[in-house]
């Protein structure tokens, strides 16, 4: 009996030892998740939608840049460069002829044709605001053989190349005709592009993981890469995007070598990695993002221009950015609607906003406007770190100037739904909300969605502003760079006077990567070509 017991005990100990050995043997290899040919990245959020035309979500746009390509692309000097195609324009500015370059193939092996591109442009034009402007000017878009297609315009529209090269947010990505034939408001179900990476559908887990393989047949351009233009040379076999809902986990994972690249670490956790000599912390997006507040023009009190002006005077960017970002190294005080560091930068009218505010001026304006204490309902998302602080700081500033403010906490998705409501405040409407844009999305009068006056058909807040529309038309009609800049300056001054929205400054979050990576490129959109990975 004793012997049996010993034997049982012995066998248990043996099993335990075997398990420990097996475990320790495997433990030594856990950091090798990120193997030499695979770049493991943590993007700023999980990828749940795969159609970059149906949504404006940045993560979907980034996915688009992995698997799709564009006809034209913007370089670091804000110049439009050929990507899939080059173009010529007729002397009268009414005909643009595009010719596809050689060697373009879809991921299923079929050649890219002019018909594919036309179908893609047409689908995109139904969803994108600047695409709609282009189609308003368009007389016809026709194929001329396999590789050539022609835009014929009703009137000159010199922004056509810029519109097709727009880097964000609904980017005119090219898709095969059979996919682009999907109605613009219905999500596509097949993910074939001609971009430098191929999407591995079978490994996709919505919100968790998406995998991209190098597309062996992709022929990069010969020019050096510059922003989204130039040669997209892929130097790894595979890129895995792994979403991590907890920022601390992502920081731990990059320090331990389980991931290679972290797109957007939270600013307050950066000190954890800044002194680590195995990691690089660097800003890759040269312009960063603009944070802003938008008022509802349909209902009191912000249907009154003087009260909007009072609100603008009450706020100042520094207070907002200190609460939101904290470290001045990562933010810029900037009163330009079109962003600082852009061709149309102008600070006209933003003195109090970029200074320390003008509370007394705000009080005087409120008195002059006869403000009756109507509460200002501010939508306050509590679950998104990048939009959490702004409503609270703005509410305090408005209260200090004499506004009655009602901060309504909610999750971001409720904000997204509520802000689309044109109903009165008592029926679920709102007075003010806050959001952020990457600067290329707002840097011209053509693409800045808040600077339009189309009323209920415009951006949330629904300003009706005929002068704004006239100024936009003036910009569109401008023939020279000087005329464009002059029109943009006029728009800046007018928008500040009308308080079309409240720009609250620019911020620029760095990315973090392990030093086994070389070659991450500066770009307004995170890109994964040109990155090489060496063994640890």
């Amino acid at each position: 009996m004793q012997i049996t017991n010993n034997s049982k005990s012995g066998s248990f100990r043996g099993m335990l030892a075997a398990a420990c050995i097996a475990l320790s043997a495997s433990v030594t290899g856990f950091a090798a998740d990120a193997s030499a040919n695979t770049l493991v990245a943590v993007p700023h959020s999980g990828l749940r939608i795969l159609d970059p035309i149906i949504t404006t979500a940045h993560i979907v746009r980034n996915h688009g840049y992995m698997i799709y390509d564009t006809l034209l692309a913007l370089d670091a000097d804000f110049k439009v460069q050929p990507q899939m195609a080059s173009y010529t324009v007729s002397d009268d500015g009414l005909t643009y002829t595009f010719i596809l370059r050689d060697g373009l193939k879809w991921h299923d092996g079929a050649p890219v044709t002019a018909e594919d591109c036309i179908a893609s442009i047409e689908r995109w034009g139904k969803r994108d605001t600047s695409g709609q402007v282009l189609f308003d000017k368009l007389e016809s878009l026709t194929a001329n053989g396999e590789k050539e297609f022609v835009f014929k315009l009703k009137e000159p529209f010199s922004y056509l190349p810029e519109t097709l090269a727009k880097p964000s947010s609904v980017v005119p990505f090219m898709m095969p005709k059979r996919i682009a034939a999907t109605p613009a408001d219905t999500a596509i179900t097949e993910f074939i592009g001609s971009g430098p990476f191929r999407f591995v559908t079978e490994e996709y887990q919505p919100g968790v993981k998406s995998v991209y393989e190098k597309f062996a047949d992709y022929v990069p351009r010969s020019e050096a890469p510059s922003w989204l233009a130039g040669g997209k040379v892929v130097k790894v076999d595979r890129v895995e995007w792994t979403a991590m809902p907890d920022a601390q986990t992502a920081m731990n994972a990059i320090q331990s070598g389980e991931i290679d690249y972290l797109e957007a670490p939270p600013i307050d956790l950066l000190p954890l990695v800044e002194g680590n000599d195995e990691l690089t912390v660097k800003r890759l997006s040269p312009l960063g993002s603009q944070t802003m507040g938008r008022m509802n023009f349909l209902y009191p009190p912000f249907d009154n221009k003087k009260i909007r002006q009072a609100a603008l005077k009450a706020m100042n960017q520094k207070d907002v950015l200190d609460a939101f970002i904290g470290n001045p190294e990562y933010y810029t005080i900037c009163g330009a609607f079109f962003g600082c560091g852009t061709p149309f930068e102008s600070s006209a009218g933003s003195e109090s906003l970029t200074g320390s505010g003008d509370v007394e001026g705000a009080k005087a304006l409120l008195k002059e406007a006869g403000y009756d204490g109507t509460p200002v309902v501010i939508l306050q998302p509590t679950d998104v770190t990048t939009t959490k602080a702004q409503p609270v700081v703005a509410a305090n500033a408005l209260r200090a100037a004499g506004f009655t403010v009602e901060l309504q906490p909610m999750d971001w998705q409720t904000v997204v739904t509520r802000r689309a409501s044109q109903k009165p405040i008592a029926e679920g409407g709102w007075n003010m909300f806050f959001t952020n844009w990457i600067v290329p999305e707002i840097m011209t009068p053509l693409n800045n969605p808040m600077l339009n006056g189309r009323g209920k058909n415009g951006f949330f807040g629904w300003a009706t502003d005929e002068k704004m529309e006239a100024l936009r038309a003036k910009y569109i009609a401008a023939k020279t760079a000087q005329e464009q800049k002059a029109a943009a300056d006029e728009l800046q001054a007018h928008a500040m006077d009308e308080v079309s929205y409240v720009p609250l400054g620019q911020y620029n979050v760095p990315s973090v990567w392990r030093n086994v990576l070389t070659g991450p490129l500066e770009s307004p959109v995170p890109v994964f070509w040109n990155i090489e990975k060496t063994e640890d």
Binding site: A19, A22, L23, A25, S26, V27, F30, A31, D33, G46, R48, I49, L50, I54, T55, T56, A57, R127, D128, T129, S169, V170, P183, A184, D185, T186, A187, T189, Q205, P206, G207, V208, K209, M244, P245, D246, Q248, T249, N252, A253, Q255, S256, E258, D383, M410, D411, W412, Q413, V416, T417, R418, A420, Q422, G428, T435, W437, P449, N457, G458, F459
Partner: protein, 313 residues
Amino acid sequence: MLVYTFRRILAAVPVLLTVAVFVFLLLRLTPGDPAAIIAGDMATPEQLERIRTSLGLDKPIVVQFFSWFWLLMQGDLGTSLISNTPVSGMIAKHIEPTISLALLTIVLSVAIAVPLGVLAAWRHGTWIDYTVMTISVVGFSVPVFVIGYILIQFFAIDLKWFPVQGFRSITRGIGPFLERAVLPSLTLASIYVALIARMTRASVLEVLGEDYVRTARAKGLKEKTVLFRHALRNAAVPVLTIIGTGFALLITGVVVTESIFNIPGIGRLTVDAILARDYPVIQGMILLTSGIYVLVNLIIDLSYSFFDPRIRY
């Protein structure tokens, strides 16, 4: 027993149906519009309306309910509004990490807590008892995310014994599975060890004063036999209830731990679906959760008779 089991399964049908109706209606009363979430910042009212139409959200709620219910009766949980993938497939991909984590946690908890509870009862009023109860209070009081981060810092970052995050299916080998599952399971086990140890101690204490225990001791049985074969077996019913409910709670309540350790389980799927107002996924998850509770309760009830022969169905 078979008849009882069949009756219980039959009784679960109206429960699940009621859950289905309530969940559907409650979700439609919650503010939020999946179409607005898909369309993003620049959508015009017309574009939003067109997306609503393409998702079928423009139809009357009754029509939406019966479309969903008809699919459900055919075993189809529908398609995610956001990712456009079948809900059943999404659940299938996310359930393995959660189930394996829950099982490992329960095994670890029982293996640690039951002996501790028996020991504390056996040495009632001594330092052993006080130590076990102190551990138990700490296990209850410290939030799981604190324990998780402490374990990560110590075992993953400082000692580098384990990875800091991730999940590997058990089908890829026991080693890779365990190296990623041990820390989250220990994190989750902290609260269940506390719970099960306290319950075991209380139940064992109660039966230790019974006549049959005194008789067993009088017969000259070893203390180990008295404790584990006689006392513990008779004290098992409430402990079993706690273990069973704990398992169901684990499956449905591991959101924080899944988040800290980046485990793609059903907790994360549910939270993501709620944040995105992805109605079919939320409905599917709540139905699954209800089903798990019904099943676990049935298994607990049936297992009572194994430990206590007086219970018969």
